[in-house]
């Protein structure tokens, strides 16, 4: 077990390095000089060279990458071109806010998707199954940013029951566990939970249906075990797959929240990236993407390890 965890950790390192290379390349993918946004229009060539050297853009790319990586590892993500403040100072609160939204979406979407999928998998072919399949395919296909707008129209514009945007009363961007803040959280969290709920329902249904066809289930039934106990056995065998799907979906939520955050003006990473894109603030964009994708790598790693706890067969395979 420990050996497996170590091996899996070692495999994650090259991926993490690859992720940093991709994030680093982003700035160099951008058309034009990354300096063009900071330079005054009348800058003389000498000034340009000076600023270029100050930002380290005069060195060869591999050197720039290593310098950048060294800085990132020590927590220095550079300065925002727009605000001239350290990028990390903007990223940390944004990541926290995205996490709050993602966890809320998990709390709503995962149980919903799992229960729906389990019911459908247990009544394969019946009307219930068809209804659940229809719900889940709707969840998978719906453009969630549009769903967010529809919810705003229903609950904020027409009913006036819930706030349409922001994180708290008066445009606050700190979270507190009270009704005023939860009200703001409700619509974006529901919006964000729809796609993962649909995907989870579909995979849980397929997995449960699969496990129920296994010989051991017929054996359990034949020996007279009550349906509830049989279900426990089925659930235990379906758990690793369900866990893997949930883990992956949680990780996808971190990326998917960008559109939902834009709809609801939720001050998270999506909102931050969106403004960074339109002000061409590439260090902020780069830093945010790097932090989120490293989260993604870590979550995938955790899911893999957890899966082997539930299902030791995977370790050997």
């Amino acid at each position: 077990m420990i050996l497996y965890v170590i091996r899996r950790l070692l495999l994650a390192i090259p991926i993490a390095i690859g992720v940093t290379i991709v994030c680093f390349s982003l700035i160099h993918l951008a058309p034009g000089d990354p300096l063009s946004t900071v330079l005054p229009d009348n800058a003389t060539p000498e000034v340009v060279e000076e600023i270029r050297a100050a930002y380290g853009f005069d060195k060869p790319l591999p050197v720039q990458y290593l310098v950048w990586l060294g800085n990132v590892v020590s927590g220095d993500f550079g300065l925002s071109i727009q605000s001239r403040r350290p990028v990390l100072g903007d990223i940390v609160p944004a990541v926290q806010n995205t996490m709050i939204l993602a966890f809320a979406a998990v709390l709503i979407g995962f149980p919903f998707g799992t229960i729906l999928g389990a019911i459908a998998g247990y009544s394969q072919g019946s009307l219930t199954d068809k209804v659940v399949t229809a719900i889940s395919i709707t969840g998978v296909s719906v453009p969630h940013y549009w769903l967010g707008m529809v919810l705003v129209v229903i609950f904020a514009v027409n009913m006036g029951a819930l706030p349409a945007m922001g994180m708290g009363p008066g445009g606050q961007s700190d979270f507190a566990l009270n009704w005023a803040h939860l009200r703001h959280l409700l619509l974006p969290a529901i919006t964000l939970s729809v796609i993962p709920a649909g995907i989870i329902a579909r995979s849980v249904r397929a997995t449960i249906a699969d496990v129920r066809k296994k010989d051991f289930v017929s054996t359990l039934r034949a020996k007279g075990l009550s349906p509830a106990w049989v279900f426990l056995h089925v659930a235990k065998n379906a758990a690793p797959v369900v866990l893997a799907v949930c883990g992956l979906q949680f990780a996808q939520l971190l990326g998917g929240s960008i559109l939902v955050e834009t709809v609801f003006s939720w001050p998270g990473t999506g909102f931050l990236m969106n403004s960074a894109i339109f002000t061409r603030d590439l260090p902020v964009l780069q830093g945010t993407i790097l932090v989120l994708s490293l989260f993604f790598v870590v979550i995938n790693l955790l899911v893999d390890v957890l899966q082997t706890v539930f299902d030791p067969r995977i370790r050997r395979g």
């Binding site: 090259p14 991926i15 993490a16 690859g18 992720v19 290379i21 991709v22 994030c23 982003l26 700035i27 993918l29 951008a30 058309p31 395919i137 709707t138 998978v140 296909s141 719906v142 453009p143 969630h144 940013y145 549009w146 769903l147 707008m149 529809v150 705003v152 129209v153 514009v157 027409n158 349409a164 990780a251 996808q252 939520l253 971190l254 990326g255 998917g256 960008i258 559109l259 834009t262 709809v263 990236m273 969106n274 960074a276 894109i277 339109f278 590439l282 964009l285 993407i289 989120l292 994708s293 993604f296 790598v297 995938n300």
Partner: protein, 299 residues
């Protein structure tokens, strides 16, 4: 009887059930005919595609003609079947024209990614060794990004524009397609008939095109078709963020973006373009499911 013998000689896939007198595709067509939902979805998609292609012929109005007097008119206004947008342009005309860009940006990346990812996966699976390691480990890195994040990152760094959206989405879809192609190729390569072909001295190119490729195409095709729905939603999402085409171009995502400002004044109008994205994405999803069933491809 002779007819039947002739058709069975046509290359049959191992996954196809043994059905004499009809080829593999005959069976697929037969199963599809018995699946009304898939047929309806095919019909809807066909209608949307045809409407987009023949937009100038069927559009009830000029999608760019603004009218300050007729802004944000509701559905059913005389002369404007689906009302007007925030600049008084005819909503139906803009939806019809918008389909051109929205479908194009949704489908093209999947096609490109299928070609590129398919070839890479085939190469990785067939040649194995260092080729496999290089290709697949690179894919792993791109796989390590949440898909929407990667799409936003690339098109955000490249800047707004149609071409950049296409590039971003193609990059997003190459790794998953490559993985499928690689795993199917690896399985196919180990089959006895491939070994036999090699033993008879068949050239590598011939083994790939005649013995391996036909096995790989089915699963890759099915998987790719399931990506179109995702691709349409993300492409319109990028457009919604303002990363796609620029105004006054008509595009469903961009229309949602600009109409969002009027959500308090005309909530009914603001959500209309999203319905098109939803219907299209849903139909592609259901069609892909139907095709998967009809083609009997196991994942």
């Amino acid at each position: 009887m002779t007819d039947a013998t002739v058709t069975t000689i046509a290359p049959a896939r191992p996954a196809a059930p043994v059905t004499p007198a009809q080829g593999y595709w005959g069976g697929v067509a037969k199963r599809l005919r018995r699946d009304p939902l898939t047929l309806i979805c095919l019909g809807v998609i066909l209608a949307i595609v045809l409407a987009a292609v023949f937009a100038p012929l069927i559009s009830p109005a000029d999608p760019y003609k603004t009218s300050m007097m007729a802004r944000l008119k509701p559905v059913g206004t005389p002369g404007h079947f689906l009302g007007t947008d925030e600049l008084g342009r005819d909503m139906l005309a803009r939806l019809i024209y918008g389909g051109r860009i929205s479908l194009f940006t949704g489908v093209t990346p999947v096609v490109l990614a299928t070609l590129i990812g398919g070839v890479l996966g085939l190469a990785a699976g067939f040649f194995g060794g260092l080729v496999n390691t290089t290709i697949m480990r690179t894919m792993d890195v791109f796989y390590a990004f949440p898909s929407v994040l990667l799409a936003v990152a690339i098109s955000g760094a490249l800047g707004a524009g149609l071409l950049n959206v296409l590039i971003a989405l193609t990059v997003v879809f190459i790794p998953p397609i490559c993985r499928i192609a690689e795993s199917v190729t690896t399985q196919a390569r180990a089959e006895d008939y491939v070994e036999a072909a090699r033993a008879t001295g068949a050239a590598t190119w011939r083994i790939i095109t005649v013995h391996v490729l036909p096995n790989v195409m089915g699963p890759v095709f099915i998987y790719a078709s399931s990506l179109i729905s995702v691709s349409i939603v993300i492409a319109s999402g990028l457009s919604f963020l303002g990363l796609g085409v620029s105004p006054p171009q008509a595009d469903w995502g961009l229309m949602l973006n600009t109409l969002r400002q009027s959500i308090y004044i005309a909530p009914g109008q603001a959500v209309i373009p999203g319905i098109m994205i939803f219907i299209t994405s849903m139909c592609f999803n259901l069609m892909s499911d139907g095709l998967r069933g009809a083609m009997d491809v196991k994942e």
